[in-house]
Amino acid sequence: MDNKRKISFFIIISTILILIFIFSGLNSNNKYYFLSKRIPKVIAIIITGVSIAFSSMVFQTITNNRILTPSILGLDSLYIFIQTFIIFVLGSGHIIVTNNNLNFILSGSLMIFFSALVYKFLFKKNQNDILFLLLAGLILGSLFQSLSSFMQMLIDPNEFLHVQDIMFASFNNINVKVLWISSLLVFILTIYTYKYTEILDVLSLGKEQSINLGINYDDIVKRMLIVVSLLISVSTALVGPITFLGLLVVNLAREFLSTFKHRYLMAVSGLISIVALLGGQLLVERVFNFSTPISVIINFIGGLYFIYLLIKENKI
C-alpha cells in the first residue's frame, strides 16, 4: 500500500467507528436524546484526537526525538493543579467548577499564560536549548504535582471524587458552547501547522542542516512550540489530560508509514488518534460501564507500548 492508500484506509476505519458510535442502538424513542449526547462527544473526540496527534508530532520533530511527549512541558500538571486548587479553596460547588464555560476559559488561558511566561524567561536566558526548556518544564510540572497532591491529601474524600474526575480526561460531559470555541481554535491551528509541513520535514534533519537549508531555525521552533502549547491547552481544558496518547499515535503512524513526510505522518497520526479515542470510548461505555476513565486506559496502553518501544529500539 502506498501512503495515500494507507490514509484512505484509516479514513474508512474512523468513519465506520464514528457511524457505529453514533448510530448503534438507536431507535425512534431514544433518537433525540442519544444524538444530542453522542454528536458532541464525537466532535470532541475528533478535536482532541487531532490536536494531541499534531502537537505530539510537531513536538517530536522539533526536539528531534521519538520518545518525548509535549506533556513534559508541565501543562498537564498545571491543569490538575489549577483544578485541585479551585476545588480545595472554593469547594466543588463553586461556579468555576460547575460552569464548564468559565472553567474552560480560566484554565485554558492560565495554561497559555504559563507557557508564554516560561518561554519568555527561558528563551532569554538560554537562547535555544530545547532540552533545557524541557527539563525545566518537568521540574515545574513536578512542583505543581507536589502542590496538588498536598491539597489532595487534605481534601475530604467526597470532594476528592471531584478532583479525581478532573485528573482523568473524560468525554462524558461535553459542553456544546465550549466545543464550538475549541473546534474553531483547533481548526485554525491545524491549518496553520499544515502550512509548515515541508519545513517540518527539513527540521527532522536536525538544527544544523535546517539552518544550512535556509530555515530560520530559532524562529520556527518558537512558533511551533507556541502552536504545541496552544493545542495542548485547548484539548486539556476541553476534556482533561491524556498524557500518552500522543506518544502512542505518533509512533504508530511512523511504523505504519515508512516516510519522513509530515504531510502524511500528521494526517495518519490524527486519524489513528481519532480511532484510538473512539475505540477507547466504546470500551469505556460498553465494556467498563463507565467505571474507568478513557485517559487511564489510553495511558496504560500507551505506557506499555512505549516500554515495548524502548526495549525494541536499538538507539534512541
Binding site: I67, L131, L135, L140, S142, L143, L147, G302, G303, F306
Partner: protein, 316 residues
C-alpha cells in the same frame, strides 16, 4: 564548607527538632523526668528525628550513587524511575496481600524498584545522544509511564487517593513502632562508604573500570540494589521526597569535586541537615498545623534544581 560546621548545624537542628512542637517541651522537663514529656520525646520526637536523619542521608547518598554509575549529574531515584517503580510495588502488595505488613510491602516494592532502575540503566545504554539533560528527561518519562500503569491498576481497585496520600512524604506519622524499617538503610549507607572508591571508578566508564580490574557490572548492580532498597524503605516509612537525591550531591560537588570518597561524607551530612531544616520549616509555617515534607522539599528543591540547571546553561 567544613564537616565540623555541618555536624554542628545538624546537632543544633536536631535539638530544635526535639524540643519544638505542638506540645512545648523544655530541657527541664526532661531532666526532671516528667513522665508525659519524656514519653512524647521517646515515642514521637526521637523517632521522627532519627527517621529524618536516616532518610536524608540515605536519599542523598542514593542520588550520589546513581549519578556516579549513570555518569550524569541530574540522575537520581526520582529521575530514574526508581521511586515510581517502588510505588507500583506498594500498590501491587496492597492488592495482593491486603493485610501485608510493612516488611512484606518493602520487599515487594524493593523488587519493583530494582527492576525499574535496571530497566532505566538498560535503556540508558541504548541512548545514542548522551546529553546531560536528555538522560534525566528519559528517566522522568519512564517514571511517568510506570506511574500511568500504577494509576490504571489503582483506579480499578479504587485506591487512587489511598496511593496518593500514602506517598505524600510525611514525618508526622512517624512514631515508635512504625519507622524501624528505616534502620535497614544504615548498613547500606556504610556499604556505600566502603565502596565509594569503586563507584568513582565505575563512573569513569565500563572500559576504564575493566582496565583497572574492576568488575563493572557487579559494582553497577550493587549500586542499583543499594539505591532501590533505600528508596523502597524511605517510601514505605516516610513517603516520596522529591529531588533530594539531585540537589544535595550537586551542591556538594560544586565545592568538593567529583571524587566520591571525598564527597560522600558531606553529601550524607548535608542531606540530613537539609531535610531536617525543611521538616522544621514545615512545622513552623502554618503552626500548629504541618506542611508535609514532600511539599516543602518539593518547592525548595524545585527552585534549587532550576537554579543548578540555569547555572549549568550559563557555564556551558
Amino acid at each position: 564548607m567544613k564537616k565540623s560546621y555541618l555536624v554542628l548545624i545538624l546537632v543544633i537542628l536536631s535539638l530544635a527538632s526535639i524540643f519544638f512542637g505542638v506540645k512545648e517541651i523544655s530541657l527541664s522537663d526532661i531532666l526532671q523526668l516528667n513522665e508525659k514529656e519524656v514519653q512524647i520525646v521517646v515515642l514521637s520526637r526521637i523517632p521522627r528525628l532519627v527517621s529524618i536523619i536516616v532518610a536524608g542521608m540515605g536519599m542523598s547518598i542514593s542520588g550520589l550513587i546513581m549519578q556516579q554509575i549513570s555518569q550524569n549529574k541530574f540522575v537520581s531515584p526520582t529521575t530514574a524511575a526508581t521511586v515510581d517503580s517502588a510505588k507500583l510495588g506498594i500498590l501491587v502488595s496492597l492488592i495482593l496481600f491486603t493485610s501485608s505488613s510493612s516488611f512484606q510491602k518493602m520487599i515487594i516494592s524493593f523488587i519493583f524498584a530494582v527492576a525499574g532502575t535496571l530497566l532505566f540503566m538498560q535503556i540508558l545504554k541504548k541512548v545514542k545522544f548522551k546529553n546531560t539533560i536528555f538522560i534525566p528527561i528519559v528517566g522522568i518519562m519512564l517514571g511517568n509511564i510506570i506511574d500511568s500503569i500504577t494509576t490504571f491498576i489503582a483506579y480499578r481497585f479504587d485506591l487512587v487517593q489511598n496511593i496518593s496520600s500514602w506517598l505524600q512524604g510525611d514525618f508526622s506519622m512517624v512514631i515508635k513502632g512504625r519507622y524501624e524499617l528505616l534502620y535497614i538503610s544504615i548498613p547500606l549507607v556504610f556499604i556505600s562508604f566502603l565502596y565509594a572508591n569503586k563507584f568513582t571508578v565505575a563512573g569513569m566508564g565500563e572500559d576504564f573500570s575493566a582496565n583497572l580490574g574492576l568488575n563493572y557490572d557487579r559494582i553497577v548492580n550493587l549500586g542499583v540494589i543499594i539505591v532501590a532498597l533505600i528508596s523502597a524503605v524511605v517510601i514505605i516509612t516516610v513517603g516520596r521526597i522529591p529531588f533530594l537525591g539531585i540537589i544535595i550531591p550537586n551542591i556538594v560537588k560544586l565545592f568538593h569535586g567529583d571524587n566520591m570518597k571525598e564527597t560522600i561524607g558531606y553529601t550524607a551530612l548535608l542531606g540530613a541537615v537539609f531535610l531536617l531544616f525543611c521538616d522544621i520549616l514545615g512545622r513552623i509555617i502554618i503552626y500548629p498545623y504541618e506542611i508535609s515534607i514532600s511539599l516543602t522539599v518539593g518547592v525548595i528543591g524545585s527552585f534549587i534544581f532550576l537554579h543548578l540547571l540555569v547555572r549549568r546553561g550559563i557555564n556551558g
